[in-house]
């Protein structure tokens, strides 16, 4: 019996999972939703924080390779997007949960995750086990054979997270994953994130500051298509003073950096 395969002992030939230089991504014809972004993200849980409309979703879509960068350089797992790369092989190592993801209502949770696992080129023999594990990890074991349309919003979101992690991705991209989760589920979800973030690069976009404080090793503050801050949650807290608006230290740090005045939206 072979303990590990040649692919598994392959060394990483890249230093960082995600590396962007002057990245530009267009939304529609003209608007640049991401404009000249320099960003380097390695293993860990990275919170992508910013006001609505800052370009977080567009950035995540570009990282998921469903939007082509309009300019600059984007290197994922050592492969430069836009060059002659094995896109299919790259996508096998990415997990992605879109912000508003749809599903086929008549599928059961298991069928839904199995279908996505098939789309992710997983081998027939691995799919059933991997699907069961993913469903267990998000706590939907007892609902696995219920139809998606009978689930609550929070459960649908968890099913979405299950499909994102089913292929054990090296890059996990979650766009607003905590929307619709109740407080207890959010705590459980953060634990899951930290667990995955030990050996994968997890990018979580959110506008909920407390998610970031609790779960992330690293915060990227994103506003108007560019990065305005990158550091640990503690550094973000340190940026805020007692005069800044916000109910918690990290919220005060957030508003200090974004420079919001009182009463401004």
């Amino acid at each position: 019996m072979r303990p590990v395969s040649a692919a598994e002992v392959a060394p990483a030939t890249y230093a960082q999972e995600i590396h962007a230089e002057g990245l530009q991504v267009r939304v529609g014809r003209r608007k640049l939703a991401v404009d000249g972004l320099d960003l380097t993200l390695g293993v860990g849980v990275h919170g992508l924080l910013g006001p609505n409309g800052a370009g977080k979703t567009t950035l995540i879509r570009a990282l998921a390779t469903v939007l082509r960068p309009a300019g600059g350089r984007l290197v994922l797992l050592g492969a430069s997007i836009g060059g002659r790369i094995d896109q299919r092989g790259l996508r096998r190592r990415i997990g992605y949960l879109p912000q508003d993801f749809g599903f086929y209502k008549h599928f059961t949770v298991r069928e839904f995750v199995e279908y996505l696992a098939w789309l992710k080129d997983m081998s027939k023999k691995d799919i059933p086990g991997a699907v069961q594990r993913a469903i267990d990890r998000v706590g939907l074991t007892d609902r696995a054979d219920d139809r998606m349309k009978t689930l609550s919003g929070g459960m649908v979101r968890r099913a979405g997270i299950a499909q994102a992690i089913v292929n054990d991705p090296d890059i996990l991209l979650l766009d607003e994953p905590t929307a619709g989760l109740d407080p207890l589920q959010r705590v459980r979800f953060r634990e899951l994130l930290q667990e995955i973030g030990r050996d994968a690069c997890v990018v979580v976009s959110t506008h909920l500051v407390e998610d970031v404080a609790a779960a992330c090793t690293d915060v990227v503050l994103f506003a108007k298509g560019n990065r305005v801050f990158q550091g640990t949650p503690a550094e973000l807290v340190a940026a805020g003073g007692p005069d800044d608006i916000g109910d918690s230290p990290i919220e005060r740090g957030y508003s200090a950096i974004l420079g919001k005045g009182k009463g401004n939206w």
Binding site: P3, V9, A10, Y96, P98, Y104, F107, E114, K120, P128
Partner: protein, 267 residues
């Protein structure tokens, strides 16, 4: 070490951490980075006890793993890899259109009159193709577009499923109405390929409606209005349809990257 690969003995010594010269270690490691075969050899080296320990763990685990074997895969699982649930209504609609066309032909068609089956046959697969890959139609579009299988392969797989339903239906309809079979499949294929080619640029549903509109304006309306034999469907037009099919197929292949990205248009 021979010219291409590291020797088994060297790899064994490396794994066991024996004393090797720095330059040898450096050469070996840089070779391992790029050579899957040698990494495979590396993975198989038995450091004392490792393999036997693994073996015993597997022997203990295997009965348990066999027990937790996954739920049986249902028969629909195979079908799902070909059609999505959102394509079913469109396929059903194709069926209804054919039934209606057959009924009209049987009731009203005199000798040499117009055949509705012939008229609608070329554009029949088009809507099914649109349902197969349109952002606004398929709720799971964004999830699926980001997966490795997304792209020309998946779109063609779904298109094949549409044709596999529509073409047999057309053949039966033509057998029932007794019209010529030859000039149905080729225009149908050309329209399908045209939808994919145009759809990669302006969105699949929009492409489908555009082509159906063109077909209605150029062929269907004049045919019905003047009660004459449908133009463009005679044997002499085979080269035209073959050319359209070839050109649009080339466009589809050249622009296949469009199917792996989010379409800018919802429809």
């Amino acid at each position: 070490m021979n010219a291409e690969h590291a020797s088994a003995a060297l790899i064994t010594r490396y794994v066991r951490g024996e004393d090797l010269a720095d330059d040898v270690v450096w050469a070996l490691e840089s070779h391992l980075e790029t050579c899957a075969a040698c990494r495979g050899a590396l993975a198989e080296v038995d450091t004392p006890g490792t393999l036997s320990a693994l073996e015993s763990v597997w022997t203990r685990l295997e009965p348990e793993l066999a027990q937790t074997a996954p739920a049986p895969r249902r028969r629909a699982a195979w079908l799902r890899t070909w059609v999505t649930p959102v394509m079913l209504p469109w396929l059903l609609m194709a069926l209804l259109v054919i039934v209606a066309a057959v009924a009209m032909d049987r009731m009203w068609r005199g000798d040499g009159g117009i055949s509705f089956v012939r008229l609608c046959a070329p554009v029949l697969p088009v809507l099914g193709v649109a349902a197969a890959w349109t952002r606004g139609v398929d709720p799971a579009y964004e999830l699926i577009a980001a997966t490795p299988k997304a792209g020309l392969y998946l779109v063609l797989r779904r298109t094949t499923a549409v044709l596999a339903v529509v073409f047999p239906l057309l053949l039966i309809a033509q057998w029932l109405t007794g019209s010529a079979i030859a000039m149905t499949l080729l225009p149908g294929l050309a329209f399908t390929s045209g939808t994919l080619a145009l759809g990669g640029i302006i969105g699949m549903a929009r492409a489908a409606y555009t082509l159906i509109g063109l077909w209605a304006a150029i062929v269907v309306l004049p045919t019905v209005a003047f009660q004459r034999e449908a133009s463009l469907l005679g044997e002499q037009w085979v080269p035209l349809w073959a050319t359209v099919l070839a050109v649009t197929a080339v466009i589809v292949v050249l622009r296949r990257g469009a199917f792996t990205r989010l379409s800018a248009r919802r429809w």
